[in-house]
């Protein structure tokens, strides 16, 4: 029978459309337990490829015949080898083109909603890594918030939409993934904004992103307004878009809140995080739709593939917004934290412009889940 290639884009459609898929992950056990392709209706079998060198007879009875079987490995080579063995045994089988590297890189643009006067807001969902980037489009102009490093995805999308990228923002200095913001700005002549308190060590020029800054997108009324909201980092800034959406960066997620320790100052910043989540955000309209910079678990993804929820609902449902005692809050966000993201210190150095690793090395740094949250 045949071996068929499946692309990361095709897997992404299956996640978003809630399709069934059986994943035979042939990476080693640690890698699988740490990070895998998540889908609401996916089933899994993890057997390292090196346990299958003598044949796949043992696992054949465990592979379903009523749904697609996708073999996955880190880069592609091992999955192709195992897929060929399974196919020789008589089954049709898929392998993931480019492996988990390609899955980690794939971005799916999804429209979040319409804005005043014909504008649009798009969320770019990086399913493999849980990163969310945004593009606000209005009257021939675009603003991008928290772009990941695959800059071509954003510049091509802008071209398709026939808009010029004028403003590029990062809500904070990222520690889990490499920002594409500065490079998009350089390539397009756009203004690149970064919160100055996060940018003390950066070695490039930027425009300070200050509290209360308002930028108009296009000639009409669509405004992107900055709201200083420290806690994940000291500079962390949120955006209010068109009076309808609040982009919370890594401060507030759908089912969790930001962690204050990735720049090494958890104890110092826990008070800021508390102030932002329990006072500054409380002053906002509850009907604003929260759009975070990450998701951690598949349940945070809506049926249409977006990651978005009404602020008022989060006040009611998000555990991190409902810890009454300040002491307990401090304990929750500074102790028993999940492991830190892969290579987070190096990633911060890249985002400061201090080191410029090659593309391959950047891919390695970003392997694994984002781990920016406390639940």
């Amino acid at each position: 029978m045949t071996v068929i290639k499946m692309t990361a884009a095709e897997v992404a459609r299956k996640v978003i459309e809630n399709k069934e898929l059986f994943i035979l992950d042939v990476r080693n056990k640690d890698a699988f337990e740490d990070w895998k392709i998540e889908g609401h209706s996916f089933d899994y079998l993890n057997i390292p490829y090196f346990d299958l060198l003598d044949g796949v007879d043992e696992i054949l009875p465990k592979l379903p015949t009523d749904k697609d079987v996708l073999v996955v490995c880190a880069k592609e080579g091992s999955s192709l080898m195992v897929a060929e063995m399974v196919s020789e045994a008589g089954s049709d089988v898929f392998y993931l083109e480019g492996g988990m590297k390609s899955w980690s890189s794939y971005l799916e643009p999804i429209k979040v909603g319409d804005l005043t006067g014909g504008g649009e807001l798009y969320q770019f969902v990086r399913l493999g890594k849980g990163c969310l980037s945004y593009m606000v489009i209005s009257e021939g102009e675009a603003a991008i918030i928290d772009a990941v490093r695959f800059t071509g995805v954003f510049t091509n999308f802008a071209k398709e939409k026939n808009v010029d990228i004028k403003n590029v923002f990062d809500t904070h200095l990222h520690a889990d993934h490499i920002s594409g913001g500065r490079h998009i700005a350089e390539a397009t002549g756009a203004t690149y904004y970064l919160p100055p308190k996060d940018a003390e060590e950066v070695v490039f020029n930027y425009t300070p992103l200050e509290d209360g800054l308002t930028v108009k997108i296009g000639a009409s009324q669509i405004e992107v307004g900055a709201l200083y909201s420290p806690g994940h980092t000291i500079g962390s800034t949120s955006f209010i878009v068109d009076g309808k959406y609040v982009l919370t960066g890594d401060i507030l997620f759908i089912d969790s809140i930001g962690r204050p320790d990735l720049a090494g100052l958890a104890e110092d910043w826990v008070g800021d995080l508390r102030e932002t989540l329990y006072r500054r955000y409380r002053e906002l309209a509850e009907d604003l739709i929260v759009l975070p910079a990450h998701f951690m678990i598949i349940d945070e993804i809506n049926e249409d593939g977006t990651v978005a929820k009404r602020l008022g609902d989060l006040f009611a449902e998000n555990h991190g917004l409902n810890i009454e005692s300040e002491e307990e809050f401090r304990h929750t966000v500074t102790e028993n934290l999940p492991p830190q993201p892969n290579a987070y210190e190096q990633i911060r150095q890249v985002n400061m412009g201090k080191i410029t690793p090659e593309n391959e090395e950047q891919t390695e740094m970003e392997i694994g889940p984002n781990r920016c949250a406390v639940r």
């Binding site: 080693n28 390292p48 490829y49 090196f50 080579g77 091992s78």
Partner: protein, 75 residues
């Protein structure tokens, strides 16, 4: 350390370093040592896990100038 065989798997991508290592191991006697040289970074975790699963002993590994060298004693 006495090395009985050297396997040059430099430049090979996954899964070939392990495929070659397994083939080389099959030709050795119990207690003999295989030296494996690879450049694929993923080999570190995979060779370690494979050795453990197969019962072989990973005596030592080192990294010099982008080349990972492993010394594996056959079970």
């Amino acid at each position: 350390m006495e090395v009985n065989q050297v396997l040059d798997a430099k430049g090979l991508a996954c899964p070939m370093p392990i495929v070659r290592t397994k083939k080389a191991m099959d030709t050795l006697e119990s207690g003999q040592v295989l030296e494996v040289q690879v450049t694929d970074k993923g080999a570190l975790a995979d060779l370690t896990a494979w050795s453990a699963a197969a019962g072989h002993t990973l005596l030592e590994h080192k990294e010099e100038a982008d080349v990972l060298t492993f010394y594996i004693k056959k079970a």
